[in-house]
């Protein structure tokens, strides 16, 4: 028999208060979207990742990666992702064609950083090819490597790697699955050749 019964205490309110005020280096939240639940994480510099929750083993490995590569001060703080949620909602509702979110390229390797910086400038409703993106990034002929870099994009949708397609117009590949690439391009009014 336990000589003393633990006091009752529901930590939900205390945890919420902590998350709202604590100086976390990485704040994350789950964001619902028409292409599935996204895990959004930001640093003080900006949005560092936006991952499809049903890929890559879910949120846990991603949070581990952020802890190792950015900082272990990782907290679930949905309020700090409010602007991300709002801009994504507007994008999917068709009322936003460009994101105004500050970005943090911390999770990208140097080559991917160059490729994705170019990709980030491709306008809404326009597509480019792997070769064009590579050339623009200063590595002509590196289309295949560019494809790899785009596949590792930690901030899909906002850094619109879905706008990069093969030279023959096929979608080729996508970090979140081809059905999502098609969905995003349809949303932007780009006609896509059926796979």
């Amino acid at each position: 028999m336990t000589p003393l019964t633990p006091p009752t205490a529901d930590p939900a309110a205390a945890v919420a208060r902590f998350a709202a005020t604590a100086p976390a280096d990485v704040a994350y939240a789950f964001v619902d979207s028409p292409v599935g639940t996204l895990v959004a994480a930001r640093t003080e510099r900006g949005l560092a990742c936006l991952a499809y929750e049903d890929l890559g083993g879910g949120a846990d490995p991603l949070l581990e990666r952020l802890a190792t590569e950015v900082s272990p001060r990782v907290l679930h703080a949905p309020a700090r992702l409010d602007d991300v949620r709002r801009e994504l909602d507007e994008y999917f509702a068709g009322s936003r064609t460009a994101f105004d979110l500050p970005l943090d390229f911390a999770l990208m390797k140097p080559f991917a950083r160059k490729i994705l910086a170019v990709t980030a400038r491709i306008p809404f409703g326009v597509t480019s090819t792997y070769g064009e993106v590579a050339a623009e990034a200063g590595s002509p002929g590196a289309g295949r490597a560019a494809g790899g870099a785009l596949g590792s994009n930690p901030i899909p949708i906002v850094v619109p790697c879905h706008r990069v397609v093969a030279r023959n117009g096929t979608l080729h590949g996508y970090t979140g699955g081809l059905h999502r690439k098609q969905r995003l391009l349809e949303l932007e009014g780009v006609l896509t050749r059926s796979m």
């Binding site: 019964t5 006091p7 949070l63």
Partner: protein, 152 residues
């Protein structure tokens, strides 16, 4: 090595830390002590030398915050007539803990860590910097003292 994402610590231990603090300092001060505990933990977190027994590490901080509350209360003189201003008595289930809070510091700490937060004596010893035997002895002494109060 890098410790795991801080959120994991919060998910795993927030309930026990809050129960410990409710037991140790009372419901009124528990939330502030909880905030201070996790803030201190968050600040120190990236500089941790190793990530084994994070639970004991966290409770070391919580115990320190609880001790701060008790020290502050001891310094604060109780004004005459304050009895009327005191908040309504806490629910009956916590009355045992009201008594625990009147015990000597070591016994109070051991009993709250053991029975409010469910820490094993091995971890309590790590938190208090004493031996497991000393922790068990303090728990036994504390319970004996309580029984005297509870069963007159």
């Amino acid at each position: 090595m890098t410790p795991p994402p801080f959120q994991r610590l919060l998910d795993a231990h927030a309930g026990d830390v809050l129960r410990f603090l409710v037991g140790a300092v009372g419901r009124q001060d528990a939330d502030d002590a909880f905030q201070e505990t996790f803030l201190s933990a968050l600040r120190a977190y990236p500089d941790l030398e190793h990530a084994d027994n994070l639970r004991a590490w966290l409770f070391t901080i919580a115990h320190r915050k609880a001790t701060d509350v008790h020290r502050a209360r001891a310094r604060r003189p109780v004004p005459v007539g304050a009895v009327e201003e005191r908040p309504a008595p806490e629910e009956p289930e916590s009355s045992d803990w009201d008594l625990v809070r009147t015990l000597p510091a070591r016994q109070r700490a051991v009993l709250t860590l053991r029975y409010a937060a469910d820490l094993p004596h091995r971890d309590i010893a790590a938190v208090l910097g004493c031996s497991e035997d000393a922790s068990r002895r303090a728990a036994a002494d504390g319970l004996k003292a309580l029984r005297k109060e509870l069963v007159p």
